[in-house]
Symmetry: C2
Subunit: 249 residues, 2 copies
Amino acid sequence: MADVLKNNTPARDPVLMPLPKACAQCACGKLCFPQALPNVYQTLLPLARDSRTRLRRGERLFNIGDRQTDVYAVKAGFFKTCMRLSDGQETIVGFHTMGEVLGLAGLGNGNYSTHAVALSDCEVCAIPLNKFEKLLEHSTESAHVRVLMAREIARIESHAAVIGAYSARQLVARFLLDISARWAERGYSKYEFVLFMSRKEIGSFLGLTFETVGRTLSYFQSRGLITVNGKNVRLRDISALQSQLIHTT
Amino acid sequence: MADVLKNNTPARDPVLMPLPKACAQCACGKLCFPQALPNVYQTLLPLARDSRTRLRRGERLFNIGDRQTDVYAVKAGFFKTCMRLSDGQETIVGFHTMGEVLGLAGLGNGNYSTHAVALSDCEVCAIPLNKFEKLLEHSTESAHVRVLMAREIARIESHAAVIGAYSARQLVARFLLDISARWAERGYSKYEFVLFMSRKEIGSFLGLTFETVGRTLSYFQSRGLITVNGKNVRLRDISALQSQLIHTT
DNA sequence: CGGCCACTTGAGCGTACTCAAAACGCGTGG
DNA sequence: CCACGCGTTTTGAGTACGCTCAAGTGGCCG
């Protein structure tokens, strides 16, 4: 279990993160800015409100409906973004970790469309909106933000498509594989990781109840596809998990 | 029934649409560009491949995975955008009509993330990508595109949230109210309209089977909330429909 | 007229939800 | 240090909503 935790260390203890002097040296610079746009890094850093804003677990980065002040690049930790439905209940529309940018949807009407809550102690790079907009007058940076936003659209589109079309087993399998891929992308193990959210939060994200999420994880474990112990997960048979995604009538 | 059809006339017969010389005179100019950005219109038109590209019902505007060549403003008619899931089945992620812009998600990696199919005879304004990008060097226009994309993100986010959390009745009620609002926004009746998609397509969009969609419409009719006759719908009690959205346990 | 497709309606089934109880982890305070 | 309380997780039993399969209708077009 000790080496499972190790995978998440940077998130649990942001102090251990390398403290970049510029995005070029930032551990997640390549993820925030996946295109090869070398001069973005130097341009972006001076704009940040400060190079590291910290949040404790449970704190909110912004609230739904708030006037937008900043755009945020996550440097360490985990966030969830939530939407309030017309009947008052809240639903999770995304989980985010280092190298991802939050608050882009707020550019629509100047208000945040979701709220963002820290699921662990977090560190973000806050960029004030006016400076951000000024930066975007440079066509290269402007293009880059469009890329980020377009990816966000594609990501949510496929999530919405899947929610409606997949069964509980397919959804949970896909969720695990998605987390696994994101860990791998960041240089951690794709086989072992610690879930940073509760069963209830997974359920809210996938459109399932927390009991169904738990039951499905137990089912996968009983079939030998994974090992679960609370929030610790180990994928034992990734290709079998992938085959769960295929519709079996 | 004759006056019901009247509401949709521009879509069924694009020839009857006013043919704008510039977006400023285009019936949907204000919808494509909801912000007060007067100079956008003059700037945009010269970029269009031609002022009106026409498609017949069933034709595709672009295919998933195709190299992106254009961005499209819908001038008349109806489109659906579809996504292909990993198991090969296709799911509808959006319906689009005049005043909406298609193909923005393609800016992510240069390929379209969905395909767009005409549900009726359609007319679009195609803007070649290179000219589009050039236009965006002007900060005003660039900001405008960010607004469009941010709205798209917020729209899909709320769709994904709702799909997971709502029951069939809630989903169908919301769907009808959404169509109604979009008609009203375009100056048509919010009480009577013609659905431009099949039950199967509605089901694909909402994550339901077509039988459930039909049954739910029949249920609403039996309760006196709406009148349905094939694709003709009349909302008889909008506030009662709205109260369907509230979670009743 | 026949064939095809979209839609409606019914009957039965199964997945995921609801309600409930018990175990566990974790932080707090005695 | 242990006791306590709270929230999370697991597991069970029963239910219900939406899916599946199927039959029948109506509209449209060759």
